[in-house]
């Protein structure tokens, strides 16, 4: 934690005019990090790593992609067949999207478990939610580009959601499409936006890291850094730990790329888009399925509010409610380790989300409709009732005096 020093005159000259070396020293080397972070804290940097992979592979794909309804499907197949290592680049990009969401979901649930969203990290949490929303938009736009059956029909279903809003709904949908159906203008603008949004995400990630470095990382104990003994410099301790994490992650990711590249995809998307033939079962990409289940959980019109509008509002509400979480959660204690009740409800909530995901991927029929409705009700019950009430009725376990206290105690015993 020495600050930046150099004997190199050129580096020193530049640093006095643009303190780029000082900044790197400050935020990537000296940055004080809690000494007790577990492997769940690897997922933020992993997500950043995948974002870089997505942008790089995406830029190369664009060199060979044609964003026209008459050429898009075949240009993707040309990438798969005739472009040197095109299949590798495309499979990296396709599976990278799923990996990005897996990592971010783990990152979000780690947040929920350790209460990382609480004061003073509310803005850090908000930026994270905005990143997640931007990822959802990017993923949706990208899935449309190969112009397969699921691209076309997924785009049709999702953009049609906006028609649920009274009066303004239909004009909004026409405006989004650039016409009266999903067609070439839709594809071109989706392509343009799909190229734009990752750079917006990149900017948001810079803000996210900036906010993080201002309030510092939370940790499994949920108590702040109090003494120098609580923290260690980011480099070399967390650089090497993150690198090891990247190695493990790459093996998981590339196992799909090389041996099951279409595992996360829908077979229907290898059929060219055909507006005259509707696939029997339209499903969005797996990472939207819980929200798709919430959307479909509403089946009865109430007065003039259609079931569709209720579903759309609930679906957006399910994500927007996360913004209020720092205040819905009334507990003073961050980490679930010291919250015996919340810890159990955390796992229930995780199971609830998995159930929603399962229901979202199945046709809405029979018992699954009821299951989806109960799971949707529980999703909102968790945030609106459990989180405020638990903080009041729960008796947390005693917190350690500091991050280093339990470590030192262990040493004393040994």
């Amino acid at each position: 934690m020495s600050g930046f020093q150099t004997n190199n005159k050129v580096v020193s000259w530049l640093d006095q005019r643009l303190p780029i070396f000082s900044m790197m020293q400050h935020s990537a080397i000296d940055y004080p990090t809690p000494r007790n972070l577990n492997y769940w804290w690897n997922f933020g940097s992993l997500a950043g790593f995948v974002l870089v992979i997505m942008i790089l592979t995406g830029v190369v794909l664009v060199m060979n992609y044609a964003s026209h309804t008459s050429m898009a499907f075949d240009s993707v197949e040309r990438i798969m067949r005739d472009v040197n290592y095109g299949w590798l680049i495309r499979y990296l990009h396709m599976n990278g999207a799923s990996m990005f969401f897996i990592l971010v979901y783990i990152h979000i649930f780690r947040n929920l478990y350790y209460g990382s969203y609480k004061s003073p990290r509310e803005v850090l949490w908000w930026i994270g939610i905005v990143i997640y929303l931007a990822m959802m938009a990017t993923g949706f736009l990208g899935y449309v580009l190969p112009w397969g059956q699921m691209s076309f029909w997924g785009a049709t279903v999702i953009t049609n959601l906006f028609s649920a809003f009274p009066i303004v709904g239909e004009p909004i949908v026409t405006w989004l499409w650039g016409g009266f159906s999903v067609d070439n203008p839709t594809l071109s603008r989706f392509f343009s936006l799909h190229y734009l949004l990752p750079f917006v995400i990149f900017g948001l990630v810079v803000l996210h890291v900036w906010a993080l470095h201002t309030v510092k990382s939370n940790n499994p104990l949920g108590v702040e850094i109090k003494t120098p003994a609580d923290a260690i410099p980011f480099h070399p301790y967390y650089t090497i730990k993150d690198l090891f994490g990247i190695g493990v992650f790459l093996m998981f990711y590339l196992a799909f790329v090389f041996w099951a590249p279409n595992f996360f995809g829908e077979p229907d998307n290898y059929i060219p888009a055909n507006p005259m033939v509707t696939p029997p079962h339209i499903v969005p990409e797996w990472y939207y399925l819980p929200f798709y289940a919430i959307l479909r959980a509403f089946t009865t019109d109430i007065w003039i509010i259609s079931a569709k509008l209720q579903g759309v509002v609930a679906m957006f509400g399910a994500i927007l409610i996360l913004f209020a979480l720092p205040w819905l959660d009334t507990s003073k204690v961050r980490s679930a380790r010291f919250r015996p009740l919340y810890r159990q409800f955390f796992w229930l909530f995780l199971i609830d989300c998995l159930i929603l995901g399962y229901v979202g991927g199945k046709p809405a029929e029979g018992i699954l409709i009821t299951v989806g409705q109960i799971a949707t009700a529980y999703y909102f019950f968790h945030f609106l009732v459990l989180m405020p009430v638990l903080g009041r009725i729960e008796k947390p376990k005693p917190l350690p005096a500091s991050i280093s206290a339990p470590v030192l105690k262990e040493k004393a015993h040994a």
Binding site: N38, R81, L88, G247, L250, M251, L254, Y270, L289, K362
Partner: protein, 255 residues
Amino acid sequence: MRKLVLSAIVAAGLTAVGGTAQASGGGEPLMKPGFSWEGVFGRYDKGELKRGFEVFHQVCSNCHGLRLVAYRNLAAVGLDQEEIKTVAAERELPDAPNDEGMVSPRPGRPSDKYIDPFPNEKAAASANGGAAPPDLSLMAKARVGGPNYVYSLMLGFVENPPADHPIPEGKYFNTYFPGNAISMPPQLMEDLVTYADGTKATPEQMAKDITAFLNWAAEPELDERKSMGLKVMIFLLVFTAMLYALKRQIWKNIH
């Protein structure tokens, strides 16, 4: 390590959700004969691909297109340059306009994509009882079950459909086709083709060979992909183990 295992379980749980979304479809559970290219070390069987091409060329290609595969690609299934030229020249397509602006047909070349059997979809539909035979370039990955579906469909015809399941005129009963009523008549009769390598052409043999060929048509990069995967994975195992050792070394005074 326990935590890594946990994270793997969570990831697997999330992926399982994705997987279940594909488990819909029609009819009976598919037959799974086991294919040479399955698994970590799986590779295409060259003999199988060649026989599969013979079935495709002599039978399927009379009605079905293969528009994403170029004739030159057939080198990968074991055809030599002369054979490729011969196959390509069997069909014609409109040439570029000559100096007088006249367009005349020319025979296909190895650089051409497989020329469709019908000039357009309307013609294909009208010649086939109203249903255009689908292009087969991506069939092996455009259906739930992939190659298992193709294999099962080829062998799934039933001569006498169940009495409670009437099949419309001009359609055929297939156990594995969604809705069971398929427009394609049964194809794989005993000794339908004569294989160049002398293999006996039983329906099962032909179904397996044509499935192999169509899987190659859909995933021509598979052999290269899996062999690159092995090298990458061995590298990553060693590299990650070294990173782990380094991590332990750097952290040893912290714990």
